[in-house]
C-alpha cells in the first residue's frame, strides 16, 4: 500500500551560518492510509515543524515529502493551498472557530472555498455536526458553545470535506479530561469507521494511547517508534 505521507531525509533549518537552527534533521517516516499516528515530543523537538510540513503550511529545506505519491516540494504555494483544501482537514488546540458565526456556518466554510452550492453545503454541514454529536447546536454562535462543543464543531469542519487525512494539533489541550476522552473516542471512531488517516500532536501519554502508534521526536530526530 502506498503511504499517504512519506518523509525521506526531511531536514528543516532556520537562519544561516552560526545561528543556523536544525529543527528537523533527516526524518524518515511513512504513514499509511487509515493509520492513527501520534506525534510526541517536548517543545523544540521538531514535532510542530513536522506537522506544518505534513500540512503543507511549511516546506522542508532538504529531502522529499510525498503526499499520496505526489512530491509536495515541486508544488507552488497555490497548489499546496489547493492540496490542503482538497485532502486535509485541520483541528487546532484553540478550536479557531469564527466567533460571532453560527456553528453550521463555521462548518460550511471549507465547502464555501470548494465552491459547493449553498443547499448541498448546508446539508453536508448539518450532517457533519450530527455525526460529531452537536447537531442540536447548529445555529448557536460558536462563542456560545462550551469548549468540548466547540472542538466538536471544529472536528465537523475538518471532516465535512471528506478528507483522507486529518491533522490534529493538541486537540484536547484546552479541555478537561472527561471532555478529552469524548473527543478522543470521536476521533478513534472517525478513523475506524470512515477510514480517515489521523496524525495528532500531543504531549500527554494517555491521549497518545488512543493512537495505533506513536512517533517521538527529540532534537529534530525520531527518537523511537514503539508499537503499542
Amino acid at each position: 500500500m502506498e503511504p499517504i505521507i512519506s518523509f525521506r531525509g526531511i531536514t528543516k533549518t532556520y537562519g544561516h551560518g552560526e545561528s543556523e537552527v536544525r529543527a528537523l534533521d533527516g526524518i524518515e517516516m511513512d504513514i499509511l492510509p487509515g493509520e492513527f499516528v501520534g506525534i510526541m515530543g517536548a517543545s523544540g523537538s521538531g514535532k510542530s515543524t513536522a506537522m506544518n510540513i505534513i500540512g503543507c503550511l511549511d516546506q522542508a529545506t532538504h529531502g522529499s515529502y510525498r503526499f499520496s505519491g505526489v512530491e509536495v516540494g515541486d508544488l507552488s504555494e497555490e497548489q499546496r493551498a489547493l492540496l490542503r483544501r482538497q485532502y486535509i482537514g485541520f483541528i487546532f488546540q484553540g478550536f479557531n472557530l469564527l466567533g460571532r458565526t453560527s456553528a453550521v456556518e463555521n462548518v460550511e466554510l471549507p465547502l464555501l472555498y470548494r465552491r459547493v452550492k449553498k443547499k448541498v453545503r448546508r446539508a453536508r454541514a448539518l450532517a457533519a455536526l450530527e455525526l460529531v454529536g452537536v447537531g442540536n447546536r447548529a445555529h448557536h454562535h460558536a462563542n456560545e458553545l462550551s469548549g468540548g462543543q466547540q472542538q466538536r464543531v471544529a472536528i465537523a469542519r475538518a471532516l465535512v470535506t471528506d478528507p483522507p487525512l486529518i491533522l490534529a494539533d493538541e486537540p484536547t489541550g484546552n479541555l478537561d479530561s472527561a471532555r478529552s476522552r469524548e473527543i478522543m473516542r470521536l476521533l478513534v471512531d472517525l478513523n475506524r469507521e470512515r477510514k480517515i488517516s489521523i496524525v495528532m500532536v500531543t504531549h500527554e501519554a494517555d491521549i497518545a494511547a488512543y493512537c495505533h502508534r506513536v512517533v517521538a521526536f527529540r532534537d529534530g530526530k525520531i527518537h523511537e517508534e514503539p508499537t503499542p
Binding site: 503550511l57 490542503r84 471549507p110 472555498y113 469542519r157
Partner: protein, 401 residues
C-alpha cells in the same frame, strides 16, 4: 464566489455595527458634503441666471465710457436724447428703448426720510425693466415732454415713506424738488447679487435733467430687443450707429459700451460655478480623509482577525481569496457609506437651498460620481490591508494571540 464574499462581508459589517458605522462616517460626511455643496452651488447659479433674466428679457444696456477690465469706465461724452431717438429710428429689431439720467437724493415725507436713487426716464423704462404698477398710473405724455415733477416710487421707497401704506397721492420732497407721487411699483425682490431693485424713484427724464442734475445728458440707455435671435445683430447696429454719431475714427476704441445682459448672466454664473467647483473640491478632500479612515480600521481589523485569516488559509483559502474578502469588505463599507452620504447630501441640499432661497436642482451626474468615487476609495484604501492579510504566513497567523 463574489456573491458569497459579498454576503460574508455584509455579515462581518453587521457583526460590528457600531464600528462599521464609525468607519463609514468619514465617507458619509465626504460624499454628503460634496453633494450638498454642488447642489446648493448649482441652485445659486440657477438663481443668478433667473435673476438676471428678471432684469429684462433680451435686454441691452448702452452706457458711455469703454468698459475696461478691472478699472473704472473711462470718462466719456454722455449720450443725448438725440442719440436715443436716432437708435429708435434707425436700428431694426428694437421693441423699446429708454434713455435714463440718474442721481441720488433723500426723499422726505413728513418725519419719514429715505436716501435712494433717482432715475429719470419715460414709460418705456418701466416696460423694458419689467416694472409693474401696483398703484396709480404711468407718466402722461405731457408730463414727459414738459418734465413735470411727478414720481413713481419703488416698493422699498414706498414702504419707507408710507409705513402704514396710507393714501399715496401726496407731494414728497426729493432732494430740493417737490414732487407729486403718481404711482407705486410692484416689488421685484432683491437680486442674488447686486442692489435692491425696488429702492428707486422714477421721474420723467427731463425733470431729473432740468431740476436735479442740471444738464441734458442721458447716462444709460436700456434697449429691449424684439427677439432673442436678433440681440447680437441689434447690438452691432447700435455700436455702428453710435460710432458714426460720435465720429470715431475707424481704428479708435469705442468710448461707450453695449452690454448684453445674457453675457453678464453668463459671467456671473461662471463665477458661482467656479465657487461651486472650489467648495466641491474642498469637500472631496474630506472624502479622501474618509478613505484613510477606512484603511485605518481595515488594518486594525486585519490584525485583530489574524487567527481567523490563519484558519482560513489552513483550511484551504487561497491568498487571492483572502485578498478579495478584505477588499470586498472595505468596498462594501465605503459604498454603503456612499449611499448614506447621498441621502445625507440630498437632505442637506433641500435644507440649504430652502434656507438660501435658491432652487433645488437634483444633479444626477454628481450623485453618481460621488457614489463611484466612494466605491473607488474603498478599493484604493482597502487594498493595502487586504494585501497584508493575504500575505500572512498561516503558521504565524495561527500562532497569533
Amino acid at each position: 464566489m463574489i456573491l458569497q464574499t459579498l454576503l460574508m462581508a455584509l455579515r462581518e459589517i453587521q457583526r460590528n455595527a457600531l464600528r462599521s458605522f464609525l468607519t463609514m462616517l468619514g465617507v458619509i460626511i465626504g460624499v454628503g458634503s460634496v453633494i450638498a455643496m454642488v447642489t446648493i452651488g448649482n441652485g445659486a447659479t440657477a438663481k443668478v441666471r433667473s435673476d438676471v433674466a428678471a432684469l429684462g428679457q433680451n435686454m441691452l444696456m448702452v452706457m458711455p465710457g469703454a468698459m475696461r477690465r478691472g478699472g473704472p469706465p473711462t470718462s466719456a461724452t454722455p449720450f443725448t436724447e438725440e442719440d436715443i431717438h436716432a437708435i429708435r429710428r434707425e436700428v431694426h429689431g428694437i421693441e423699446a428703448i429708454a434713455g435714463t439720467a440718474s442721481d441720488s437724493a433723500v426723499a422726505i415725507l413728513g418725519a419719514d426720510q429715505w436716501s435712494t436713487s433717482i432715475t429719470g426716464a419715460d414709460n418705456d423704462y418701466l416696460y423694458v425693466r419689467n416694472y409693474q404698477l401696483r398703484w396709480g398710473r404711468e407718466f402722461a405724455p405731457g408730463e414727459i415732454t414738459a418734465g413735470t415733477p411727478v414720481c413713481i416710487l419703488g416698493n422699498t421707497v414706498a414702504k419707507k415713506l408710507f409705513p402704514d401704506a396710507q393714501d399715496y397721492a401726496k407731494r414728497i420732497r426729493v432732494g430740493r424738488v417737490s414732487c407729486q407721487v403718481i404711482g407705486v411699483l410692484m416689488a421685484k425682490g432683491a437680486a442674488a447679487m447686486g442692489p435692491d431693485q425696488d429702492d428707486l424713484i422714477v421721474m420723467p427724464l427731463r425733470a431729473v435733467q432740468h431740476r436735479m442734475v442740471g444738464n441734458t445728458y442721458v447716462g444709460m440707455a436700456f434697449v429691449k430687443v424684439a427677439a432673442t435671435a436678433r440681440v447680437a445683430a441689434v447690438k452691432e447696429q447700435i455700436e455702428a450707429l453710435l460710432r458714426e454719431r460720435r465720429r470715431l475714427p475707424r481704428d479708435a476704441e469705442s468710448d461707450f459700451s453695449v452690454h448684453d445682459l445674457q453675457e453678464v448672466a453668463q459671467a456671473m454664473s461662471s463665477v458661482t460655478a467656479a465657487l461651486t467647483g472650489l467648495l466641491g473640491g474642498i469637500a472631496a478632500v474630506s472624502l479622501l480623509v474618509g478613505g484613510i479612515g477606512i484603511m485605518n480600521i481595515m488594518l486594525v481589523s486585519v490584525t485583530e482577525r489574524t487567527r481567523e485569516i490563519g484558519t482560513r488559509l489552513a483550511i484551504g483559502a487561497l491568498a487571492h481569496e483572502v485578498l478579495l474578502q478584505f477588499l470586498v469588505e472595505a468596498t462594501v463599507l465605503s459604498t454603503l457609506g456612499g449611499v448614506f452620504g447621498i441621502l445625507l447630501g440630498l437632505g442637506l441640499s433641500v435644507l440649504g437651498t430652502r434656507l438660501l432661497q435658491v432652487p433645488f436642482i437634483f444633479g444626477l451626474g454628481i450623485t453618481v460620481a460621488a457614489f463611484v468615487f466612494s466605491a473607488a476609495v474603498g478599493i484604493l484604501f482597502g487594498y493595502l490591508p487586504a494585501r497584508r492579510a493575504a500575505r500572512m504566513n498561516p503558521i504565524e497567523a495561527l500562532r497569533h494571540e
